[in-house]
Every structure is written in C-alpha cells, then in structure tokens.
C-alpha cells in the first residue's frame, strides 16, 4: 500500500487549469466565453449506441465546431445512471481537481439525480445566445419530467416513444391499449418488451393510458396515485402475460435484443424511445423495408433531452459554446433530417427568421416516418422521475420474478 501511495504522489497530475465555472461565465459576456473556449477540447459524455447519432456528432458537429470556434469535440460513452456513477466517483476520488467531462447528455431521472447529488454546474443555459430560439411554450421542452431545468441544462432534441411493426407481416396492427391486449391474446408468443429503459417507457405509456391520461400522475410523485396506476397496469400485464413471448417467463435483456428478435420474426413488435429509429434501422438493413412506427391512440411518452455541464468540468467555456451551437438552426435542422438522425427540433420553428421555417418544413419526410401532426397530437409529457424508479423496482420484484 505504501508503494502505491508513493506512486500515487509521484504520478499526481495537476491537470489543466480549470476554466471558470459555467455559472460565472454565463454572467459575463459571450465574447469572453468564445475567446476562452478557442483552442480547447470538450469531452462530451453521451449514449454512443446509435451509429446514426455517432455519425452526426463525429462527422457533422465536430468539424464545424473546430472550424467555426476552434473547439475540438470528443464524444465518449457515458449515459444515464452510469454517468451519475462516473461523475460522483470522479468527484470523490479526485478531491476537488477537475474531472474528465465538460458536457453531458441527460434528461429526466439522470438530471434529477445529478441535481440531487449536486453534480451539475449552473445556471448557465438561459444565457446562451440561442436560448431565445427555444420553443419554451412546449410543455415537453420546458419541463424535463416535470422538473424545471432552471438553467442547469439546455434542451437539445425531442423524441417520442413508438412501437415498431412490420406492415407487411402484421397488416392488422392494433392502435389502442385494449386492441393491443386483444391482439396479443390472439397471437400468443408474438409480443414482449425489454427489461430496461425502453420497456419501462412502454409500461409507463400503458399505465397512463389505463388511468385515463397522464394528468392523473402530474404534479409530483404521489404514492396513492402510483399504487392505483400500478395495480391497473399489473392486472393488464397479468391478463396478457401467458400470451407474451416465452409466456412472460423471461424478457429480452435490452432493446437491442428486441430488435434482433423482431428482425428474425420471433416477435411482431419491437419498440423505441425514438419514433424515427425505424427509419435509420431500415436504412441499415437491420429492419425489413416495410417496418413502421406506431403510436397508441392513448398517446405515448415524449420527452426532450438536454445537455448539462458537470460541476467539476475542466472546460465549461467550451461546453457552453458547444451547447449553443447544438441549438443553432443549422445544427437542429441537420439533426432532424430522417437520413441523419430524425431527432425533432426543440426550436420554435415558426418564429425563426427566414428562410429557416421553410427549410424545416422541407426536411425530407421518409416513407417510414410518422407525420409531425400525429406525433404532436399523441405526445404525452413525462411525469416525476420517481414513478419510473418505482415502476422499475416493482416490475422486477413481481412481474419479472413471476410472483405478483
């Protein structure tokens, strides 16, 4: 142990001089931020599981950031709960020195956890020049799982949960919760959901639908309302469980496994938190060409996703410049293209200066993509993150273990 300590002291790097915290920077002038950011590198932690998103970040955003602002963007793995662990452990073990990460891709539960662990810097987001372009009237953008971002995160994009099916194989796809249950009972073994985030989002959508709408759960976490919602959901699940894939005795480990089962025809539905994933997956030939997204009539959960700056960020200035660029009309437009990522914009398109509104209108609409009006009419906001945490825990305890 002594040896290691000696080694530790010898190796202890002082690290790059930390830039001022984002809160301080936001109070100053934007030009100062830009000049501080020039020549720096931003390590951006995000979900790296989708080649389409990776291509957008690495191949489109990064070169423009370098050319326009002199900022290198290094996108690395680290999302959701793991991100919280990384940031917390870094802060704990590095004793006040700057960490590795300057920007994080977050929302909902992760935002709540980072806030409660005091791991986010801010407020800074409202001071971004492009913050004025954001569609702040949208309930989905302005409230992150009912939380006020309060300037600790800046919106980046918007997605909506959708079921995915093969329109050639399943022409009679159900469009409501009750029709779905009936369909499942008529087609034993052809439906399931995964055990992680996507699966839980599906269950939450059903829970809202069965309770007559998301309103029943709005206004913070309420134990009583949660229990009622859960009981309805679990009795619905119990009624379909024998007809689920493998009789509901086991569930695919993650959404990738769902996609694999769907592609091979083992099940007739897969699902995604992004209504446009079906478009990119068809293009990658992972899904058959007739695969389509489907929104239940009761509505499906839509949420915005954001970027935040960790409290121990080594380069807050660069992170702010990047966050601002991500909100620029050009970056938002590119991101929304079906053949790029298909992630909806968070900007108030109508109030953008010309020619942006028409350009957004003109974004090529893929045959497999859902019309924007339909998406908007069926989008349901997220509720307090505790509903998700409780539902996950209870589902594992009862439905997964087969002991309701």
């Amino acid at each position: 142990m002594l040896g290691l300590l000696a080694f530790a002291i010898a190796c202890r790097s002082s690290g790059p001089p930390a830039s001022p915290p984002a809160g301080t920077l936001a109070a100053g002038s934007w030009d100062r931020v830009l000049s501080q950011a020039r020549g720096t590198t931003v390590v951006w932690r995000m979900w790296r599981g989708d080649p389409a998103i990776n291509a957008y970040v690495d191949g489109w955003v990064a070169p423009r950031m370098r050319d326009q602002y002199g900022v290198s963007v290094e996108a690395v793995e680290g999302q959701g709960p793991e991100l919280v662990n990384i940031l917390a452990t870094e802060r704990e073990a590095m004793a006040g020195r700057p960490g590795t990460t300057s920007l994080v891709w977050i929302n909902g539960e992760t935002f709540a956890q980072l806030r409660s662990e005091n791991l986010l810097d801010g407020p800074w987001a409202d001071g971004l020049p492009n913050a004025s372009l954001i569609d702040s009237d949208s309930s989905i953008v302005s409230r992150d799982f009912e939380q006020d971002p309060a300037g600790y995160e800046a919106p980046w994009g918007m997605v909506q949960f959708a079921l995915i099916y093969d329109s050639a194989r399943t022409p009679d796809a159900p469009t409501s919760i009750s029709a779905l249950a009936a369909w499942i009972q008529r087609h034993p073994g052809r439906f399931t959901h995964d055990q992680q985030f996507t699966g839980m989002t599906f269950l939450k959508s059903v829970m809202y639908g069965l309770a007559g709408g998301v309103q029943a759960f709005q206004g913070g976490f309420d134990e009583q309302r949660y229990r009622q919602g859960r009981e309805r959901l679990f009795s619905w699940l119990t009624s379909i469980r024998p007809f689920l894939w493998r009789n509901g005795r086991t569930y695919p480990p993650d959404v990738a496994a769902m996609h694999r089962l769907f592609a091979n025809g083992e099940i007739d539905f897969t699902m995604s938190n992004n209504q446009n994933e079906v478009v990119t997956k068809i293009r990658q030939k992972v899904f058959p060409p007739d695969a389509r997204a489907l929104l239940l009539e009761e509505g499906t959960i839509a949420n915005a996703h954001y970027v935040g700056i960790p409290i121990n960020a080594p380069n807050a200035a660069g992170a702010m410049v990047l966050a601002n660029f991500l909100l620029s009309p050009e970056a938002q437009l590119e991101k929304q293209r079906g053949d790029v990522w298909g992630d909806s914009t968070v900007l108030d398109v109508a109030s953008l200066p010309t020619p942006w509104p028409s350009r957004f209108e003109a974004v090529a609409r893929d045959a497999a993509a859902l019309p924007r009006e339909l998406l908007a009419s069926r989008a349901r906001p997220e509720v307090h993150p505790l509903y998700h945490a409780r539902l996950l825990q209870d589902w594992r305890q009862t439905m997964r273990r087969g002991t309701p």
């Binding site: 290691l4 080694f7 530790a8 190796c11 202890r12 790097s13 002082s14 690290g15 390590v43 932690r45 790296r48 599981g49 989708d50 080649p51 990776n54 291509a55 690495d58 290094e74 690395v76 793995e77 680290g78 990384i86 452990t89 870094e90 704990e92 073990a93 590095m94 004793a95 020195r97 960490g99 590795t100 990460t101 993650d254 959404v255 990738a256 496994a257 769902m258 996609h259 694999r260 592609a263 091979n264 025809g265 083992e266 997956k281 990658q284 030939k285 992972v286 058959p288």
Partner: protein, 261 residues
C-alpha cells in the same frame, strides 16, 4: 503414448465445435440481412458493416488495444517475472502469500476489481487517460504473469545465477547472458499471454477509462448493444484476428524450438 489413442473423430468434433461459431460470425459480418428461415443469407455485402463500424473509430480503437496489449504485456512480463523470482527465492510462507495475492487479482470478479482500480486510478489523477487504463490493465496482467512465471521458475535452476556470479559475471551480465537467453521463449510466451489478457479486458477499461479510452472490446460492446449484428460481427472478427495471429506465433515458436506447449 499410452492413453493418447489417435482419434480422428475426436479431432473432427473438436474442429467443428471450435470453428462453427467463428464461421457463423464470418457469415454474419458479410450478410446484409439474414432473417429466419434462411440458412444462408441472400444478400452479402460487407460494406454496411464497414461503414457502420465507422472505420476511423474502429481503427483508432484497434490501435489503442494493440498499444495497451503490447505495453501491458511488456511491463507485466518484467514485473511478473521479477515478483516470481523474488517469491521463489524467499521463504515458503512469503511465497504462498505472494502467490495468493497474484491469484486473487486474477480471479477477483472484474466488476469488483474494477471498483478498486477505478478509485485508485482516479485518485492519482489518471482517470479517463490511456496511462490510467494501462496501469489498471497491468494489475490482472501482472497477476496472470506472476502465476505463469512461478511455474516457469519451478523448472529453472536459480543456482545458475549464483554460479555465474562466482565465475565473475556482474548482476547485469547474469541477467543479459544467463537469465534472458535461458528464459527467452518463456518471456515471449509471457508477453503474448499478457497481451491476450489485456486484449480481452472490458469492465476495467470501461470503469477506469470512463468511456474516454476506447478499445476494441468497448467498441464491440456498443455495436452489439445497438442491435447492429452485422457491425458487431465485423468488429468481433477484427478483435479476434490479432490474438489468433499471436496464438499462431506461439505454436510456431513451440514447433521451432521443439518444445511442447
């Protein structure tokens, strides 16, 4: 030769058992779509896999993995042989303790070992750096190589060193003229073994590298988790080829020196 009955059937079965999964991965890597109930894919095209694998990313991950394997193999061999040599020379009790420590780093679950490494590496300010991941890999690599080197020293006459000293050789000369030439092949095997151990690390890389240091297994995991099997199979093959080459080297080396594996 007793008990070693020549059994062609057994060899054929072994070959099929080992090669079938590799063949399936190869087919998958070249299959654009391969849906039930096709026995063989109807459209083969490696390009989507190549482009999805994002050639630049995979190449840089390949370089990182190779550099890590080489560096940890090299340092791990030196340190492992040093530890083993000391352990063999000192008393039995101490030897048992050293071996237990080495054994522990080898079989401790990567998740459990990873937590300690993460705290230790972050504590010295090397989290998310190549150096940090290198130090973290070095721990299990050295553990393996210590056990390996103890086995080597068991059949190595340490008194040769003393004899060389009495013949007038300096410690450095003993090392360069006696120990290294005698252990030559074993040192090479250690290097390859250590490289293989580092090559396969995933949990430790993720925890210590924090996603910033991207090795091939990290890339492979994210591809498999995105549900893109073609890219995953492609990366899997990329990940398998260098170790296969190393194994080939090991067997050829064994044949040339006439030694058995």
């Amino acid at each position: 030769m007793i008990g070693a009955r020549r059994d062609g059937f057994l060899l054929a079965a072994l070959g099929a058992w080992v090669l079938t999964p590799i063949a399936v991965l190869i087919v998958r890597a070249f299959a654009q779509s391969w849906r039930f109930p096709q026995i063989l894919p109807d459209a083969t095209d490696a390009w989507p896999a190549l482009s999805a694998a994002g050639t630049g990313r995979v190449t840089s991950a390949l370089i990182a993995s190779l550099a890590l394997a080489l560096a940890t193999g090299l340092f791990g061999t030196v340190i492992g042989f040093l530890i083993a040599r000391s352990a063999v020379r000192v008393g039995r009790r101490f030897q048992q303790l050293t071996l237990a420590a080495a054994f522990f780093t080898v079989i401790a679950p990567p998740i459990a070992l990873g937590v300690g490494l993460q705290v230790a590496v972050l504590g010295i300010g090397l989290g998310g750096t190549f150096t940090g991941v290198f130090l973290a890999h070095l721990v299990p690599v050295t553990g393996y190589l210590t056990l390996f080197a103890v086995g080597v020293f068991a059949s190595f006459d340490l008194s040769l060193e003393d004899e060389a000293r009495t013949l007038g050789a300096s410690p450095w000369q003993v090392l360069s003229r006696i120990v290294v030439p005698l252990l030559g092949r074993r040192l090479g095997e250690g290097l390859i073994l250590g490289g293989l151990v580092s090559w396969g690390q995933l949990a430790i890389t993720l925890l210590v590298g924090g996603g910033v240091v991207r090795t091939l297994p990290v890339e492979l995991l994210s591809m498999v988790q995105s549900g893109n099997d073609q890219a995953g199979a492609f990366a899997a093959l990329m990940l398998s080829l260098p170790p296969m080459f190393a194994i080939g080297l090991l067997t050829v080396g064994a044949r040339r020196t006439g030694a058995s594996l």
